[in-house]
């Protein structure tokens, strides 16, 4: 994997404070002037990254802005629970990732303002469904390890579990060729179908793959 990214946001100059310091200040004094200033500075560092992450999922500026605001607001409210055991960037990433994954699983009502609220099921999966999905995921991962090559494994996981767009996977994994990641995904599916048969049912978010 190419090391073309920086991890925790490094201060651009010596006067900037590291993420961990800002997070500690914001968590210690959330209502005070210093705490708010620290929270504003910390979240401000990542606002564009959050927007770009959301945009990758929804491919629409307005929707990405709505999601970004949700993510930043959630993160701000929960800064007090951030205890510094992990990097702030990955803590924020976890919030953004969950928000986007749940957004792409939303029922149509939340995208269609004229939908009937009484006919929409609770978007949260039930216990049975969660267990089934987990067990299915474990099974798929086991098959992936055994039957797919490393590029296929990565592409398949990113598409089916992280719901990453095909074009983004092509760029990320630097897959050359006319079909890019699409061809790799087709090959991976063929192999998995051959060994798993009907046990693999298509995922909701996998329609475009």
């Amino acid at each position: 994997m190419a090391a073309d990214v920086s991890n925790n946001r490094e201060p651009d100059n010596a006067r900037e404070r590291p993420d961990a310091v800002l997070a500690a200040l914001a968590g210690r004094d959330p209502e005070g002037s210093e705490g708010r200033q620290a929270a504003s500075e910390l979240l401000g560092r990542y606002r564009t990254l959050v927007y770009r992450w959301c945009f990758r999922y929804v491919r629409d500026h307005d929707q990405a802005m709505d999601l970004s605001q949700d993510v930043l607001l959630n993160a701000y409210r929960r800064l007090g629970a951030f205890e510094g055991r992990s990097c702030f960037s990955s803590w924020l990433f976890a919030i953004a990732r969950n928000r986007c994954l749940s957004a792409v699983r939303r029922p149509p009502l939340l995208q269609d303002e004229e939908g009937d609220p009484d006919r929409v099921a609770d978007p949260r999966p039930g216990v049975d469904q969660t267990l089934e999905e987990r067990s299915e995921e474990e099974e798929i991962l086991r098959l992936m390890r055994r039957h797919l090559n490393p590029v296929e494994q990565r592409a398949f996981y990113l598409r089916c579990f992280e719901r990453m767009p095909v074009e983004a996977i092509t760029r990320l994994l630097v897959i050359e060729g006319a079909t890019g990641a699409r061809g790799v995904l087709q090959s991976a599916r063929r192999k998995l179908r051959a060994v798993a048969g009907d046990r693999l049912r298509p995922k909701e978010g996998d329609r475009h793959g």
């Binding site: 209502e31 504003s40 564009t48 927007y51 007090g80």
Partner: protein, 274 residues
Amino acid sequence: MDERCVLVEDLGELLELPLDDPRMLHVADCPRCQGRLLSYRVFLRRDEVLEGARDAEADACLREFLEETIRGKSAAGGAHEVGEARGAGAAHGIGEAHEAGGAPGAGEARGTGSNIGNAYRPRTDPFRRLRDLRRSRRILWPSFATLAVVSAVVAVVLLRGAGERPPIVPRGDQGEPGEVGPLPAPAEWLPAGGCVLRWAGVKEADAYRIVMLDAGLAEVARLEATTQTTFTLNPDLVRDLRADRRAAYWQVEALSAGDAIASSPPQAWLPPKR
């Protein structure tokens, strides 16, 4: 999930590890961890061109959003503090919203400061009214003064009868986390493997419910309602919730007639290191 799999919130540490670290060796063999790590790397990328994304415009709008959300809390109490921050905050990225330029599609906002927000109006913008209010503050100032005097008189009258009225209980997000909701104490881990959760109750609540959250603060389980202000998780339940390290936080919801009326902020739920 494999016990060795890396939690999403711990991905940042991975990038610092040498390749021969046991966790990295696991990543090298695990499609799930590789996928998550790749996603995290994508999240951190600043150089990628995204077709259709309006980075500069989004940056200006989100900057204003954060300022309204975080700094704007004090705007209602006094513009003094905000003004100070704008003056002193240049080194910290605060108060720069009014200097924004170069945002495609936001040209009319340049130099006009508070018009930057016009570049983006979400369909459900909870801060629109606050923004509009702040813009019209100069015009409405005499009305506000009159309103303030009337409000003070009304408040005095109402306060006299306050003893007879039940206190107002904010619902859902209307309340400030931790101020009106149940106040949790740190989890107590029992030697046998169980865990005791305690919290200070809420007057109007007739029951409480425990919600377990994962590292990304997504709900993973709800535990039965209790009328007490303590809840004991037996070792089996702890083991189940910790089996794939999915539960990392807990919070308690105060219930009244089955409806959640307030909730605590998430609390870390990690067993002590042995």
